[in-house]
Amino acid sequence: MSTVTDSLSPDAPRSTATDNSIEHFSYDDQIVRMFVTATIIWGLVATTVGLIAATLLVLPWLTDLLPYFSFGRLRPVHTNAAIFAFAGNGIFAAVYYSTQRLCKARMWSDALSRIHFWGWQAIIVAAAITLPLGLTQGREYAELEWPIDLFIAVIWLFVFGGNFLMTLINRRERHMYVALWFYIATIVTVAVLHVFNNLVVPAGWFKGYSVYAGVQDAFMQWWYGHNAVAFFLTTPFLGLMYYFLPKAAQRPVFSYRLSIIHFWSLVFIYIWAGPHHLHYTALPEWANTLGMLFSLMLWMPSWGGMINGLLTLRGAWHKVAADPVLKFFVVGITFYGMATFEGPMLSIKSINALSHYTDWTIAHVHAGALGWNGFMIFGMLYWMMPRIFQTSKMWSPKLVSLHFWTGTLGILLYIIPIYAAGLMQGLMWRAMDETGHLSYPDFIETIQAVVPLWWIRVGGGALYVSGVVMLCINALMTWMARPATYEVPVHSAPRLSANYQDDEKPRTSPLTDVPMLEVGKKIDSIGAMGWHRRWERLPVKFTVLTTLAVVVATLFELVPTFLIRSNVPTIATVTPYTPLELAGRHIFVSEGCYNCHSQMIRPIVSETKRYGEYSKPGEFIYDRPFQWGSRRIGPDLAREGGKQSSFWHWTHFENPSLVSPGSVMPSYQHLLEDDLKFDAIAPHVEAAAFLGAPYSEEDLKNTEAVARRQAEEIAAQVVQQGGPAAMHEKQAMALIAFLQRVGTDLFRTEEPAAGAEPVAGDADAAVTDAAVTDGAVTDAAVTDGGEAAAGEEADAPTADDDAAEGGNDQADAAEGDESA
């Protein structure tokens, strides 16, 4: 129990009689215990589901009779559980524990704390139920549908954010420590990201269509997706690091100056970097370049933070040898350094050309998630549990050490083979023989080559999960050793005076009498950082400024992306999906096909040779959500339309190995057995029409009949090609309709329907490029820098290259050393 008599100190600020009355308070550790328990439980769930997902890649037949648990549906369960359930609850445990102690104040509202806890668990359970049911937006890390998204916004911003901000306002510690700055940045930025990325038009209670389409949807999604990593998996963990590492080491943070630079640099830079996820895609090149540049700059503050963390242990390394908590922190921070070096490296276009869509990205992500996020949480939990459960120590310190070594080995056994797999995939996909043909034209070859490495990954994952099991046992036994009644220490401190007068002596500048320009003296005055010191005492102002930094940075990328007409050149032959194709696309999204199949052919020779003409931005104007994907466990589908017969697709759903021997795709037998709800298609068409897709009166009024007619046509094709009869009612018909349509509009030559209004860009900006309407450009044209742009205004070149134009240069750059 501490009794603080700061007001009696001769150095104390003068305050009014009412201000310096002593208040007594206790910390709410019950909410911390609740979040700690949730973190441990969800940690076990998230890692176990990840292990199952990894196993499904090597044994895909395991889900043949369990469509709800196929890889495509399970992978989002794993990612959401890992990020929002495990890491999320870990963040909240850290915030609730450290904020109260840094503010010398109990959380403002116990009720809000409990609503936050139960609300967040309800969100996680809702995700765990809806995602296996195929209720998904189909956008990575933003899969949850709009009712859950609304609930998240309320719980995150108003309940958690409101409670946190009010605690800051009512604090008894004048200065806001740097960890609190990171928490502020996390709360406001995640709120902004979540709200603006999830703006949808509902098509029923369980389906919403993004207000963004195609290129803009991709931009918004990766603005969100990258910054989910930044502001959910980085900034709160840095706050955690800045609080718990000094506590565990009993040493102050190495450099407070560096922490200031670290904070503002991260907040200001991170938000720009999203486009690096979309190199060589149909996103405008200027956006990619800007994203790459800021990603490279991101390396500096990230390593500043890592150095600040590691050097906090200066003079205390002997403690690291003996204390497993510090071991967890050291390895966690080291993985942060590794991941934040590799991230900028992967954002370099020429490296990204090799790494993107491969397992390299998966290894990178897991180095960060398992090493940085996982180990920082484990270290924090092991430090915190004896304190919140009021036991002298963990039940078994030896088991803590065993967890550390098992986990470390597990991470290495996971990432090393997956790095190798990623490199193999990237190199095999682009390998050419001496005649200029692909060395591995069959995509299956490139997957079968890495399956043994996937098996090793399963072993590494199993080790990591076993470490989490050790944590569960140790936590349970420690909890069982708790006292019958928890002690609640009462603390005393005076309220902060509302009219604080800094008693700092007026700083006399050494430049006062120096004959120099007044502007120099002004710069010297600004450099004294008195203004920042004031910000650090004003939580509302600090919050507003942080929000401003994030929003301004966002607008610099967002405004041009949405308003430059040439960003998304219109292609006259691109028309909306038919009602049945739209239903098929909905199935594609629901099944999570984007988790294995991209729909984005980059302007790289090996890709155009393997898949066909590279993707143009104008092809995606009706794609809500975009389905470009970020990983290729299966081949790209951007030009899938017309490649195979309808019966081939039917057989492929039934048993992929029959038509693709060696495929790791599971059976989708249920699509062949379950009837399509034709009467449920209309809301999807209405939502698309509401968002600007020019559907005919017939499509809107007789949606079901139009869809049935097309389904019957496809069913007839299947019969003609040797397939079963009377299957026009099945879901597979819709998915086949969609797959046969994908990527074909670019090559159609008929005139667009009368009255069709292009959606992306103004009608007067619509330009039909001969190279597009006349068909595909040759590979030679691509490599030779031939013009293949869709819709570039020849008489008005701008700095804002459209993606297709930029693609030619990019292709050269990416393939520059292929001959070698």
Partner: protein, 59 residues
């Protein structure tokens, strides 16, 4: 009004302005951070270690 404003914007400079904006901010923060007194920074850095209410002021 808004349409006129938006159409008058020169988007081609956005990327360069963004970069300049960041560099300027970074320089100010960097310069300022290293002007902080050691006494102040060491006191701030020690906040998590202390169970007493601190009210850092003069340097």
């Amino acid at each position: 009004m808004i349409k006129d404003l938006v159409s008058a914007l020169d988007y081609s400079l956005f990327a360069q302005v963004a970069l300049g904006l960041f560099v300027a901010t970074f320089v100010v923060i960097f310069y300022g951070a290293f002007r902080l007194s050691s006494q102040a920074t060491s006191r701030f850095a020690s906040i998590p270690l202390s169970d007493d209410v601190e009210d850092p002021r003069g340097e």
